[in-house]
Amino acid sequence: MNLLAEAFDWIFSPDRLSGSSPLPAAIALHLLYTFIAVALSAVIAVPLGYYIGHTGKGRNAAIAISGAARAVPSFGLILLLVLVMGVTQKPLAATIAFVLLGIPSILAGAYAGLEAVDRRVIDAARAVGMTEWQILVRVEIPLGLPLLIGGIRAGALQIVATVVLAAYVTLGGLGTYIIQGIPLSRYDMILGSAIVIVALALVLDGLFALLQQVVVPRGVAAGRTQDIRATSPRRRAVVGTSLQERKG
């Protein structure tokens, strides 16, 4: 209990605003690394996930690779990349490691979002004369957005927790206090910065949860609240007669 109080004392001490590594600056840097890594992951994973989700090609490979990638230890990956790329390339090595960490969740969110769209809706869109691109942009992406945001949410959480490791390769961020604190046995400092990281992750998660609610298409949300026989649109997709069955 005492330790916890000391940790909070450390966080709220006026000293945190001055010195060589002030807390607000560390938080800002931590968030910046997180943002860059999430953005780069999304740039890679979203188009790839949409391609897989729309065409159904490469789905099994994507599942296998992203499943394996989740199991890769981030710390080991950073050290390996630093060794391979050279000590001067530390920032790049760390960024690559964080991006790789974020890709599986975002990729899964992107293709799962497209796969969850009712096949009959897509079939109808095609039958009235939409091109494949129009089906993707006007139907699949808006309807799949909540699941994509869910994927980005999971990826961002993992990255924000892992950016702590940036400090190991002297890049700063909130991990700095932990690394400095360990040899000094400054447990208030270690626990204090850990609490800040957890708080940061919770706030980030809350913001994404909010965003996930906002991006649910209005028609879909309307059906959810007003239809008394409410079934979620996703479940409807599974229960309904599939095209194959109706092909007769």
């Binding site: 009959r120 809706v121 009235v128 209005r218 028609g219 309307a222 007769g248």
Partner: protein, 301 residues
């Protein structure tokens, strides 16, 4: 006065009237030796030949596995033929761009197939907007289509999930008509609504066909629906083999074989009614002795 695709346009002081002329396109659809083999090896359709007459309703009727939906979806190239050809007014559809072809043919499906994230009016306006009509104009035209299919204009700004099944189907029909296609494909459009609403929608379909004069191809497994709506009824056996083609009258009067007889229910006596006179009028009873209707005064009486 100017030539228009479907006759002659008479224009006077911004008022245009379309006058149908005798030499306008017949809008006939013709299947020639059409086969469909799916990648898994199943043969859904083999050497299928059929002429679908213009500006009439042709109903393809059969049980599941008869290939009726496959045949319908071949017309707008949602399913491509493995062999043979399909022609609209003598022009092969295989030469046409599938997307352009689909935009020129109305399509109404079971469960309406509306886009859940778009308002009713934007669902109706989908095809005109794809064709480059300004959104405002497409919406304006969409409101008139809601009138045409018997919906209140107040539903325009609601989402499909807020409508009843019957209303959704009407919106589906409005969307099918939005680009003013000459051909309308209807794939079991009333299969998922309750019997009362279905009867209503069937009457609306008859009225629409009379008013709009389209070539309608309608798929159903319900023989009563087929007889009600069809000018030409095509009864399909497994593998899209045609058991009989004819008007409802011809088929009822003279079923071609046992399959047709059993399909239309003639064999069980469901179709043969006898008159029983009672004190209050004449009723019609079936072979089981159950009353099926009342004998109304004929037109000559």
């Amino acid at each position: 006065m100017s030539a228009a695709p479907n006759g002659v346009m008479l224009t006077y002081w911004q008022v245009s009237i379309r006058v149908r002329t005798r030499n306008e396109p017949p809008l006939m659809i013709e299947f020639r030796g059409v086969s469909k083999r799916f990648p898994d090896g199943t043969v859904a359709v083999e050497d299928f030949n059929l002429v679908i007459p213009s500006r009439k309703t042709t109903v393809l009727v059969g049980s599941s596995g008869s290939g009726k939906t496959t045949l319908l979806r071949m017309i707008n190239r949602m399913v491509d033929v493995s062999a043979g050809s399909i022609e609209i007014d003598g022009e092969s559809i295989l030469d046409r761009n599938p997307v352009a072809l689909r935009r020129s043919i109305g399509y109404v499906m079971q469960n309406s197939g509306l886009l859940p994230h778009l308002k009713v009016i934007d669902n109706v306006a989908t095809v005109p907007v794809l064709n480059g009509v300004p959104r405002r104009k497409a919406r304006q035209d969409g409101l008139e289509l809601l009138d045409t299919v018997g919906l209140e204009r107040s539903v325009a700004n609601r989402y499909p999930s807020q409508l009843s099944g019957g209303q959704q189907q009407r919106v589906g029909v409005a969307r099918g008509l939005a680009a003013n296609p000459n051909i309308l494909l209807m794939d079991e459009p009333f299969g998922a609504v309750d019997p009362i609403v279905r009867a209503e929608l069937q009457q609306e379909t008859i009225r629409l066909q009379r008013d709009l004069d389209k070539t309608v191809v309608f798929v159903t497994h319900d023989i009563d629906e087929a007889f009600l709506l069809g000018d030409q009824v095509v009864i399909l056996e497994k593998g899209a083999k045609i058991a009989q083609i004819g008007s409802p009258r011809e088929i009822l009067a003279n079923p071609a074989n046992d399959f047709v007889a059993s399909f239309i229910g003639a064999e069980k006596g469901k179709r043969s009614l006898t008159i029983q006179h009672t004190d209050h009028g004449s009723i019609l009873i079936d072979s089981e002795g159950r009353p099926q209707g009342v004998l109304a005064a004929g037109p000559g009486e």
